[in-house]
């Protein structure tokens, strides 16, 4: 079998008019995933120079849901886009150095764009299903490659801008920028391919990510989560190795403010004034579910040790080896009336896997930062 040349590909579907349109949708998806990804990365940071707002309480739920939805939708779009432009892989390299250098640079940026896009979408997809067949840090790598991918995308857009502009302002059946021999009518029209690509993207995104959406979650057949068991659990008490510590009668919640400190048993917490908050757990993996939480308002606990308002608070868990076991809750979250040290969920005692004896629940905060099995609250 001989190696094909660019002219071996004759379908009129492999056209700039199609590539630019799918590329536009893909660009929108990448823009949304970058923006929402940056929000999520910032929300998980230990120091937030400008704290995120606590209102609306569903803000992170929406941004992170969008992140995973647009990332999944980008997979079919990227595959179609790569199919459309595949002949370019076989373009000849110019002989003269003067022309070869810019071509090499452009092709290099395309190689970076394609490989980082594929890796970003794949690792994100696998993370949703908690499958980690790699030794690198997902969060660090996904964050770093996002800048590389979007940077390469901007270079690509810059190089193609005249073609993109012509293609998007022209008719979808326009052939101005096509190779002369890409004329063969395929089994479907260009418009047909666009409709199919869009439908495929919507279907994949719905099936894979809508599992916890009320009403339609049941038919989101490929979602890793559902509402069957109430609010889903990410890390169980067993895997966090906290079962003994959390069920021990010696358990105390420590409150520390400078030299003042208090140690409360779960009974002490139950004896305090109980409040209710209806708040979502919104996971970085995109799923979210709202629960009716009941427990002691965090602000009431801070008052016990005489903490003034406007102070950040360090929340620690019995769990020791996880990054989320020791986090800082910004002052606006600590002082919010809805922020609870929850003892009950949906009318039942908090289960061990949901963070018994007591867990943090605050509005508009990534699920991974809603510390379970809280052992210590320190005013900073």
């Amino acid at each position: 079998m001989r190696i094909p040349s660019e002219d071996s590909f004759t379908s009129r579907l492999r056209s700039a008019a199609v590539a630019a349109r799918v590329g536009l949708w893909l660009g929108i998806c990448f823009g949304v995933t970058l923006a929402t990804g940056l929000i999520s990365h910032y929300a998980q940071g230990d120091s937030q120079p400008v704290p995120l707002p606590t209102n609306p309480s569903w803000f992170y739920q929406v941004t992170q849901g969008l992140h995973v939805v647009t990332g999944t939708a980008a997979i079919p779009l990227l595959l179609v886009k790569l199919w459309v432009v595949f002949p370019k892989l076989f373009q000849p390299v110019p002989r003269q150095v003067r022309e070869a250098l810019p071509t090499a640079l452009e092709r290099g940026s395309i190689a970076i764009l394609v490989s980082t896009s594929l890796v970003q979408l794949t690792t994100g997809l696998l993370n949703v299903a908690q499958w980690y067949p790699w030794g690198f840090s997902f969060r660090t790598t996904h964050y770093a490659l996002a800048f590389v991918a979007v940077g390469a995308l901007l270079v690509h857009i810059a190089v193609k801008l005249p073609v993109i502009r012509d293609a998007l302002t022209g008719d979808v059946d326009d052939t101005a920028h096509d190779r002369p021999n890409a004329r063969q009518a395929g089994p479907v029209s260009r418009r047909g391919v666009l409709v199919l690509a869009g439908t495929s993207a919507l279907a994949a995104a719905f099936l894979y990510t809508a599992g916890t959406v009320p009403g339609v979650g049941r038919i989101a057949a490929l979602s890793s989560r559902s509402r069957k068991h109430g609010i889903p659990i990410n890390r169980t008490a067993h895997s966090a190795r906290v079962v003994a510590g959390a069920s021990s009668s010696a358990y105390r919640l420590e409150l520390v403010h400078g030299a003042t400190s208090r140690a409360l048993s779960r009974e002490d917490l139950v004896a305090m004034e109980q409040r209710s908050s209806t708040l979502p757990i919104a996971c970085v993996e995109g799923w979210s579910a709202t629960g009716e939480w009941r427990g002691v308002r965090l602000r009431d606990l801070l008052d016990l040790v005489g903490a003034p308002t406007g102070r950040d608070v360090r929340i620690r868990s019995i769990q020791t080896f996880s990054a989320s076991a020791d986090t800082v809750l910004p002052a606006n979250f600590a002082d919010d009336a809805r922020t609870l040290m929850a003892l009950e969920l949906d009318g039942e005692t908090l289960s061990m896997d949901h963070g018994y004896p007591v867990r943090l629940i605050a509005p508009d905060r990534p699920g991974v930062m809603q510390t379970k099995w809280v052992s210590r609250i320190e005013v900073l």
């Binding site: 890796v119 979007v150 495929s200 994949a204 099936l207 490929l222």
Partner: protein, 144 residues
Amino acid sequence: MRKMRGGLIAVGTVGMAYGAWLLLSRQDLGQIVEVVLWLAAAVVVHDGILAPAVLALGWLGGRLLPRAVARGAVTVLVLLGPTVLVAIPVLGRFGAKADNPTLLDRDYTLGLLGFAVLCVCAGVAVALGELRSRQPTRASVEEE
């Protein structure tokens, strides 16, 4: 336009450089090497396996299938193909944990089969629509 293109290239290059620096400065060498391997493998798997496979399907379909059937086949391929790839992590249940019944809590094989049936129905509808629309207008199409 020239200014805009220059600006995009500048911002894009800075973005790539910043990302590369983040990648190289925050993990150990073994991890960085693994990321690079993943980047290379992604291109090899797509350009070397997936794309040629789809190409071969297209080549075969174009020769063996009548136009209406080919239309249906393309419909099924574009709707179902990417979703099958997307489903791999849940179909294989690679991330399942024995102590967490709230993770991967569906029958994914059945779910994917259900979606495949819908896609085939869509393909059949498209093929039938093509057959029906062609018959009365065949003369006019040939005149074009």
